[in-house]
């Protein structure tokens, strides 16, 4: 054997040993966990993006990062979902209902996501629900408020951790009557679609039960994203109402506030904004002092000072330089609820499928940044939480918005009991409400 052949032989042998050693090092001790794929749908463009969609998306980003790093507070401090890292695909909710449904199908059928969390608009939720059921796709609605989702039909794969709009409006009526005892008539301005109509229906129903002698004056339903409210402001200025109910949000809320302030409407009547909290950091001193503010639950400045809330406030504010508003909270609550359900289902071994996660999700209870969630309505698919209302004022010394005079309402005080539709519960006098 030549010297050259010996060198080659020993060289090859050495290479084989080195390769084997490297391979042994690289050999996993256990199969790598398959990532959990989530579709996160929210308004990323359009009028609802800035006040709602983007904070919701940011809430998802910050919570998913913390979960993947195992840095969320207990009991959410295990890595990802049951040890599997979470991969999120962010999708824009903007567009027609048909477009929203197409994007949902893409997420489920093309991208094969394990679950979809999303939707701000009640219209989107109503459109997606039957498709989610048809595709057996686990779906968690994070913000849309219409009670109809679980009242029209029993659902198997659709969940909503955030309470529906009934709670917002029943609590708004209770707060108004507690703080403004001289109210004899009130008006409403709400967007002309499911969210606005349901909100107004529940508010009027609750007022009839709680103060039957107080009358409804002007009822206005401008179209979504109308932009110009001159005639509406005039109509309200010529009314005799002492209070104005609105579930306006996004650019509609901001445009309405600019226009009514220029004409002094808020000097004549107290405005109750059931979704006003999302605008306080933008409107600041433009939002009239004395406005009654809701946050679609005990979110944002209305949230209790718990450890998990302090953690969420900090990580969000550190990243985005603005405190989280209620859609960020709702997204965080939804993700944490799904994580618990996933991990409960995963205890059976292997990667759980949609049926197993759905079975585990039904009826769970847990504490998130916005308080205790109880999945008790809609056969365990719809959550309830406590809620709170307060009065807005801009602190001129600190140059910061504040919500003062906060009143908390237990979940069982402002939500219908299981098995009863919201409007029926209100119409029958809100029987069984436990407010103490």
């Amino acid at each position: 054997m030549s010297h050259r052949a010996i060198v080659i032989r020993w060289g090859l042998a050495g290479l084989a040993v080195a390769t084997a050693a490297v391979a042994a090092q690289a050999q996993p001790t256990a199969p790598a966990a398959t990532p959990v794929k989530l579709g996160i749908v929210s308004f990323l463009t359009g009028p609802a993006a800035s006040p709602f969609g983007i904070p919701g998306r940011n809430g998802a980003e910050i919570v998913i990062e913390a979960l993947n790093a195992g840095k969320a507070p207990a009991p959410f401090n295990t890595v990802g979902f049951a040890g599997s890292k979470v991969e999120a695909k962010y999708v824009d909710e903007a567009g027609s209902a048909a477009n929203v449904v197409t994007e949902f199908r893409n997420l489920v059928q093309r991208d094969q996501v394990d679950a979809v969390i999303g939707y701000v608009s009640s219209g989107s939720c109503l459109a997606v629900t039957p498709v989610a059921e048809e595709l057996k796709a686990l779906t968690v609605f994070y913000d849309c408020g219409t009670p109809r989702i679980f009242e029209e039909k029993a659902r198997n794969y659709v969940f909503r951790v955030s309470p529906h709009a009934t709670m917002d409006n029943v609590a708004a009526a209770r707060y108004l009557l507690a703080k403004k005892k001289n109210v004899t008539s009130y008006s409403g301005i709400n967007q002309n679609y499911a969210w606005g109509q349901d909100s107004w229906r529940d508010f009027v129903g609750a007022m009839k039960v709680l103060a039957p002698k107080v009358t409804v004056d002007k009822v206005l339903f401008p179209k979504l994203f109308a932009g110009e409210y001159g005639a509406e402001v005039s109509t309200l200025l010529t009314s005799k109402s002492q209070a104005l109910h609105t579930s306006f949000y996004d650019g509609d809320l901001e445009g309405f506030i600019y226009q009514e302030q220029a004409r002094g409407l808020d000097k004549r009547m107290t405005i109750i904004m059931t979704a006003g909290e999302a605008a306080i950091w933008r409107l600041r001193d433009k939002l009239p002092d004395g406005t009654i503010i809701g946050a679609r639950g005990a979110n944002g400045p209305l949230a209790r000072d718990t450890e998990i809330n302090k953690w969420f406030q900090k990580v969000y504010t550190d990243r985005y330089n603005v405190p989280p508003t209620y859609t960020a909270y709702q997204m965080a609550q939804s993700l944490l609820g799904l994580k618990l359900a996933y991990e409960k289902a995963a205890k059976a071994g292997g990667k759980p499928n949609a049926d197993a996660i759905a079975a585990a999700f039904k009826g769970i209870e847990y504490e998130g940044p916005a308080g205790q969630v109880k999945m008790v309505l809609g056969d365990g698919h719809q959550g309830i939480t406590e809620t709170a209302y307060g009065t807005y004022r801009f602190n001129k010394q600190k140059k910061e918005p504040e919500i003062v005079d906060i009143v908390r309402y237990p979940a069982e005080c402002v939500n219908p009991p299981a098995g009863i539709d919201a409007d029926k519960w209100i119409a029958e006098g809100m029987k069984g409400a436990k407010c103490n």
């Binding site: 993006a49 206005l220 339903f221 001159g230 005639a231 005039s234 433009k286």
Partner: protein, 298 residues
């Protein structure tokens, strides 16, 4: 009486808003026969430009009047640049093509410009309320009117007067009228139709952007504002007659007064009333109030 005066004032303010937005659209259609969907983008760019200007003058603590003029100037300057880019860069290439193709081109341009807004200003919304707040309000009986709304009506009236004067009493206006009446004949008589097209489109773009600029203090300047506007502007132009400036004025007044009356008296039909009026007018006069049916050229 109170309701009647409220309907009249609200109707005038809404009509002013509609006219400022629709005049550019109808001018472009009248001269170029282009149904310009991208007009909504001019409005949106004008509003964003105005919001930027308001931010500059608020931070610099300039007097409100200067800030207001800066806002208008910024909006119109953006319209000028955008108009030149679109007409010279895109529309010039499709002149002579089927009208449907041109509409699709303007629609595609509209979608692209929505994304350009995101690239320039980001997805967040902007507030530009300071000029409206500085203007204050005036109380007439129980009704409180915003002085800014009165300024809006004055701007619309000024625009209507200017358009009338420019079309009837200036050389360019007469040239424009000949092109509106018959493009081929005007060209045969030596009118530089290409130049007329460019100038008209740029003026239309500036008017659309001006509409956005004057509305910016009243609204949240946010993504998608151009969509609503273009639908309303089409309704106004259809009522008055495509290409007719006096038609746009009368259409805006009809829609403004009818909508205000609906909000005050029968708010349930507010959504329906604008398009109900449009349908009614088109049933009686299919080409709008100020445009007659024209024989087809062969």
């Amino acid at each position: 009486m109170l309701t009647a005066s409220a309907i009249l004032t609200d109707g005038l303010v809404y009509a002013a808003y509609l006219f400022i937005v629709a005049i550019g659209l109808t001018l472009i259609f009248g001269v170029m026969k282009i149904l310009n969907v991208a007009h909504g983008s001019f409005y949106a760019f004008g509003a964003y430009g105005a919001a930027t200007a308001v931010g500059i003058y608020t931070n610099a603590d300039w007097p409100a009047a200067i800030g207001f003029l800066l806002m208008l100037a910024m909006g119109m300057a953006i319209g000028l640049v955008l108009g030149i880019i679109l007409e010279r860069g895109i529309l010039r290439l499709v002149y002579g093509k089927d009208e449907v193709i041109i509409v699709l081109v303007t629609y595609a341009t509209f979608l692209i410009l929505e994304d350009v807004i995101v690239l320039i200003w980001g997805p967040q919304s902007y507030a530009a309320y300071q000029p409206m707040v500085s203007a204050g309000n005036i109380e007439i009986g129980e009704l409180v009117l915003s002085n800014y709304d009165i300024v809006l009506v004055a701007i619309a009236a000024l625009l209507a007067g200017l358009a009338y004067w420019a079309l009837k009493f200036t050389r360019y206006g007469r040239l424009l009228t000949t092109v509106i009446f018959d493009r081929e004949t005007a060209a045969a008589f030596g009118v530089n139709v290409t130049l007329v097209y460019t100038v008209t489109f740029v003026i239309g773009a500036m008017l659309g952007a001006l509409g956005g600029a004057v509305m910016a203090p009243k609204i949240a300047v946010t993504l998608g504002i151009g969509v609503e506007v273009i639908v309303l502007a089409f309704a106004v132009v259809a009522i008055g007659g495509m290409g007719s400036i006096e038609g746009a004025l009368v259409g805006a007044l009809i829609v403004g007064i009818c909508r205000a009356a609906a909000v005050h008296l029968v708010p349930q039909i507010e959504l329906f009333v604008i398009y109900g009026v449009m349908a009614l007018v088109l049933v009686v006069r299919p080409y709008g109030l100020f445009v007659r049916a024209q024989p087809r050229k062969i």
